[in-house]
């Protein structure tokens, strides 16, 4: 359903964020994207809906190459791609309902969105989605009146309001407590299953990824270094993705080794 072919991104500063990433995600599959900070996870996701312009490669959603479409067509294609953000990215001063309806912006002309006169079908659907994520009673509250978990549910409802063909999920649980994180992950998995949606989920919490994802892709310095089943993720693989570390031990970290000469030299400088 989604296929990336040799996707490359080099920023204007010369930093290469992605090196020829190739990846295919079939319908209904939820792929977890793991890797250290700065590995290019966020860039990869943003290249797909072109919030970041890719510098090379093809992005096929169905049979459309998203990397090649023009501005008007890009707008139409973005409607098919729902995105869920780290720290929710709701418009905080708008109501919950307006946030969910903003998922329809690509489908309605400006004056209709300006006067808040969305088609009845969209409104009905928005209520249905709010009911689905358990926030029907909060529809008229301002988004910043909700708790973190509730806001992320609004974010999910907004993405689903687009009736997307693909979900992009960027660190959905980064600022949530462990219990709420699991509820949110479960909700994302459920809606993907209900709608047979493919999804790419950026996630830095490896145990959470192993618990929920169908498949894991490991990025390191802009390259795919692992692509396989969740069960195939072991210490060797973790070391290739994140670098060497004592993955199994949960004991006290040994005190960092230091050279006493080093300390003495620094102290001598301090006195000056």
């Amino acid at each position: 359903m989604l296929e990336l072919q040799r996707l490359t991104k080099t920023y204007a500063t010369g930093d290469t964020a992605l090196r020829e990433v190739s990846l295919a995600v079939p319908r209904g599959q939820v792929v977890g994207l793991i890797g250290p900070s700065g590995a290019g996870k966020s860039t990869l996701i943003r290249c797909i809906n072109r919030l970041v312009a890719p510098s090379g490669g093809r992005i096929l959603l169905g049979d459309v190459d998203l990397a090649a479409v023009g501005r008007a067509e890009l707008r139409r294609q973005r409607r098919r791609i729902g995105m869920i953000f780290q720290e929710y990215a709701l418009v905080e001063r708008l109501t919950v309902m307006e946030n969910v309806l903003s998922g329809r912006l690509g489908y309605v002309p400006f004056w209709r969105s300006f006067t808040r006169r969305f088609p009845g079908r969209d409104i009905e659907n928005a209520y249905r989605l709010l009911d689905r994520v358990g926030l029907l009673a909060h529809a008229d509250k301002r988004a910043d009146a909700l708790s973190g978990g509730q806001r992320q549910r609004v974010g999910i409802a907004r993405a689903l309001a687009q009736e997307p063909a693909l979900l992009l999920v960027d660190e959905p649980t980064a600022s949530l407590d462990p219990k709420t994180s699991r509820q949110i992950m479960r909700l994302i998995l459920e809606v993907c299953e209900e709608r047979d949606l493919p999804a790419i989920v950026n996630i830095h919490d490896v145990p959470l990824a192993q618990q929920f994802m169908h498949r894991l892709v490991g990025l390191h310095a802009g390259e795919v270094v692992f692509d396989g089943a969740t069960t195939a993720l072991d210490e060797t693989v973790l070391a290739t993705i994140y670098g060497a570390e004592d993955w199994a031990s949960s004991g006290r970290e040994p005190a960092p080794e230091r050279e006493s000469e080093d300390t003495e030299r620094h102290l001598a400088e301090v006195g000056r």
Partner: protein
């Protein structure tokens, strides 16, 4: 622990950010002080003139203590009505023109050349002080509140458009990104992602500008742009310090009312 603990210092001072050498710091401080002393010494004060002025100041202060609201009341009323009309219309027109210019001057919304044009308009409006604009517009439109209205509208543009543009540039980019990701067009992004973030600030700025405009209307009246300033100028010219005192007290009262009113409204809007 087989390693001996090294002797850590017990004294710490904040490292100097600039001018690392202590002697340089002394030198810079001493020369600033020397300059100040020399510069202050360059004003030659004519003590005789100051003495003469003191008696005038006394009469002025006296006028303040016994403000005369009645003998020129119809002039004062006329001036006040002119000033308030000019203030209100200039603020409304100024805001209406500032909003599109402010949007155009926000780097995160428009292309580079629109940005530069709008920033240039703002720079022109901000670099010309109200009095200079007023003198020019009085020459153009003649004496009276029309010149004042035009001056205040022009000055409001620089103020509101700049602060609005800066606020738009500081808007949370994640909210903007989220709306853009839904396939929203430029106008929709503006209306759904930017407007909710900057609206309280825009209303606050407009109210603030309203009371600046009122205060300025008292100043530009002196150069002939009508309003309470013209009345004040006439009163001072006629040595009617009682009436002048009354006018200044009214201006102070109105600015205070506007101040409290707008801060109350702003708190209500948050």
């Amino acid at each position: 622990m087989n390693e001996a603990t090294p002797a850590y210092p017990t004294h710490w001072r904040r490292p100097a950010r600039m001018l690392h050498d202590r002697r340089w710091r002394w030198l810079v401080q001493a020369s600033v002080l020397a300059y100040l002393v020399l510069a202050l010494g360059s004003f030659d004060v004519e003590w005789a003139r100051v003495m003469e002025g003191l008696s005038r100041a006394q009469r002025f202060a006296h006028g303040f203590l016994q403000p005369d609201f009645t003998s020129r009341w119809s002039d004062i009323r006329q001036g006040l009505i002119e000033s308030l009309t000019m203030t209100l219309t200039a603020t409304v027109v100024g805001v209406a023109i500032s909003v599109p210019i402010g949007i155009g001057a926000a780097r995160n919304l428009v292309s580079a050349w629109i940005y530069r044009c709008c920033r240039a308009i703002i720079a022109v409006s901000r670099s010309l002080q109200e009095i200079i604009v007023a003198i020019f517009l009085v020459a153009m439109f003649g004496f009276g509140p029309l010149a004042g209205f035009a001056t205040l509208s022009f000055a409001s543009i620089g103020f509101i458009a700049k602060l609005l543009a800066d606020d738009i540039e500081e808007a949370d980019p994640r909210q903007v990104e989220a709306i853009r990701a839904t396939g929203a067009g430029w106008w929709q992004v503006l209306h759904y992602a930017i407007q909710p973030q900057v609206m309280p600030r825009l209303i606050g700025l407009s109210l603030y500008r309203l009371d600046i405009n009122f205060r300025e209307s008292a100043v530009i009246g002196i150069v002939g742009a009508g309003g309470i300033g013209a009345t004040l100028n006439t009163a001072i010219d006629r040595y009617e310090y009682g009436s002048a005192g009354a006018i200044l007290l009214i201006v102070i009262a109105i600015v205070m009312v506007a101040e409290y009113g707008s801060s109350y409204l702003r708190r209500f809007l948050q």
